[in-house]
């Protein structure tokens, strides 16, 4: 029984904490008479969520944001892993490009949104590009790290087996790097959502980011909270999918094993 409790205690504590936070929020709004224009009560937000979900246009907005996020993320994975493998293996190229990579990494990339809108228009492409740019860096840097962290002993095994470069990449370097790529992807998917939403904030007429700005302009703060709630759920679901993918694809990896044994 105690073991069971220790293993499953989070199923009780986490919902309890959520309920307590919601109650505190409600009590705060009631006690201090906070204007619903500043902070609507949870019950009001709940009603707004129901209203939002009942609106058939909402689903369209969800699809647009989801599409932009996934397309950008997919692009980031392709480019990030591809370039990461090359830079991880070709040291002189990595050293040559490193200053540029660092410069691009420290640049506040959100500031590029207007440029992407100029280049790619108000449609989904500019948002896809923004999502891809944000998600790309953690995936690429993790891939480089993974390739360069390949165990020396493992390398010697492949050398002693006289493996070709291609076979070494396929049988050792890529599988050894996969956990790093997936760690980068976990960060990347969240950044991809941010990229898509920020893109929608600043241009266009579709997607949840646009909806958030539209509700703000209409002073419908409750609806804005509802949109934020939907966005959070979307992000949560996408993150869980990537995390699940990681457990599935690298069942042998220590982090995965440790989590499973908890």
């Amino acid at each position: 029984m105690r073991r069971f409790l220790r293993g499953h205690i989070a199923w009780i504590t986490t919902p309890s904490l959520a309920a307590a936070l919601l109650a505190a929020w409600q009590a705060y709004v009631d006690r201090f008479n906070v204007s619903p224009l500043i902070l609507p009560a949870p019950l009001q937000v709940g009603r707004a969520i129901v209203r939002l979900m009942a609106d058939p246009r909402t689903l369209m907005h969800v699809w647009v944001t989801l599409y932009e996020t996934l397309a950008g993320f997919g692009l980031a994975v392709l480019l990030g892993v591809g370039l990461g493998v090359v830079l991880g293996k070709v040291r002189w190229l990595e050293r040559t490009l490193n200053p540029f990579i660092v410069a691009l990494q420290v640049m506040p990339k959100v500031a590029l949104v207007p440029i992407f809108i100029v280049w790619c228009g108000f449609g989904p492409v500019s948002k896809i590009v923004m999502a891809a740019v944000l998600a790309f860096f953690p995936i690429m840097t993790n891939t480089i790290l993974g390739i360069q962290s390949v165990d020396r002993g493992h390398r010697e095994v492949m050398i002693s087996l006289n493996a070709s470069r291609l076979a070494t990449l396929r049988e050792m370097e890529l599988p050894a790097t996969l956990p790093y790529v997936l760690t980068g992807a976990e960060v990347g998917i969240v950044l991809a959502i941010i990229g898509a939403i920020v893109g929608e904030y600043l241009g266009g007429s579709h997607g949840l980011g646009y909806l958030a700005v539209a509700t703000l302009n209409a002073f419908d703060v409750q609806a804005m909270f509802a949109v934020i709630f939907v966005l959070t759920i979307l992000g949560f679901v996408l993150y869980m999918i990537v995390a699940a993918l990681r457990r599935r694809l690298t069942p042998w990896h220590e982090v995965v094993v440790m989590r499973r044994e908890e």
Binding site: D151, G153, E156, I159, S160, A163, E171, M172, P175, W252
Partner: protein
């Protein structure tokens, strides 16, 4: 009798001291001729890791390289394995040079099986796939790989572990799997670099018995590196004793005990005496 020709030391007699005798063999499996290895350290000066190595290893012979740390025994094994190209001297495997210019002769290399101090199993492959990895690289089909891995798991005595992950096995079992991987493509030569160095003493004794059994069954030639005197005397047909700074061959000693040896051979006076004289020789180097 692989160790019938030209014994350099009688059982129990103190090993001959002085330059290592060159034993001419008609058809050696491994021949090192005048091998030397220099390292350039960061300050720019050149360190001699190994010098004057002449050694012939016969077919099906079990040779142990023994010496204190820094004597270059691992370097010597890595040179035989083709992981290091010696600064000077020649390495021939079954009469063929290992190196063609700056490249290793891949046909010669494919006849070598190597077991490292760490098992170095790939954590993302099951034991079965680890063992069969060399076969996969050689383009062997899936069914045949599985059958061979199964057979090898029996041979190295880890039956039923084919589908497990390496991390689920103990250190000794992982090293068994590493030996199975090295044997998978049936190399004529097995090179082992302190393969049981990371294991506890009891597991180690057991592994030595198993290694002898596997070797007797496989007909392979073995070169094994160790710093354990008992391990060397227990396993070897011949012990090559190396001395440090710079690493060179000190003595070659023939070990005459009958095969298969069991662990109790270690309690016999002849064994004790040989181990004792090696101990004295090693202490004299320090």
């Amino acid at each position: 009798m692989p160790f019938a020709s030209a014994p350099s030391a009688e059982a129990g007699a103190p090993p001959a001291i002085g330059p290592a005798p060159v034993v001419p063999a008609p058809n050696p499996e491994i021949r090192l001729g005048g091998v030397a290895q220099h390292y350039r350290v960061e300050s720019g000066e050149s360190i001699v890791a190994l010098t004057g190595i002449d050694l012939d290893v016969d077919k099906r012979e079990f040779v142990v390289l023994l010496g204190p740390s820094g004597c270059g025994k691992t370097t010597m094994l890595r040179i035989i394995a083709g992981l290091i190209k010696p600064t000077s001297g020649s390495v021939e495997i079954d009469g063929r040079p290992l190196w063609i210019g700056e490249r290793r002769d891949s046909e010669v290399v494919s006849n070598l099986g190597i077991v490292f101090q760490e098992a170095n199993l790939f954590p993302w492959l099951t034991i079965e796939d680890n063992i069969a990895l060399p076969l996969k690289l050689r383009g062997v089909g899936k069914e045949e790989r599985r059958a061979r891995a199964h057979e090898l798991c029996q041979l190295v005595d880890i039956p039923g572990f084919e589908k497990r992950w390496p991390r689920e096995l103990s250190g000794g079992m992982r090293q068994r799997a590493a030996i199975a991987r090295a044997l998978s493509y049936r190399p004529d030569i097995l090179l082992l670099d302190e393969p049981f160095g990371a294991l506890d003493a009891m597991t180690r004794d057991q592994m030595n018995v198993e290694l002898q059994r596997i070797w007797l069954g496989s007909g392979a030639t073995i070169v094994l590196v160790t710093h354990s005197i008992n391990e060397a005397v227990f396993l070897a047909d011949r012990i090559v004793l190396l001395s440090p700074r710079p690493g060179r061959m000190d003595t070659v000693i023939r070990v005459p005990f009958d095969r298969p040896r069991d662990l109790y051979v270690q309690t016999t006076p002849a064994f004790q005496e040989m181990a004792g004289s090696l101990r004295r020789r090693l202490d004299a180097m320090a």
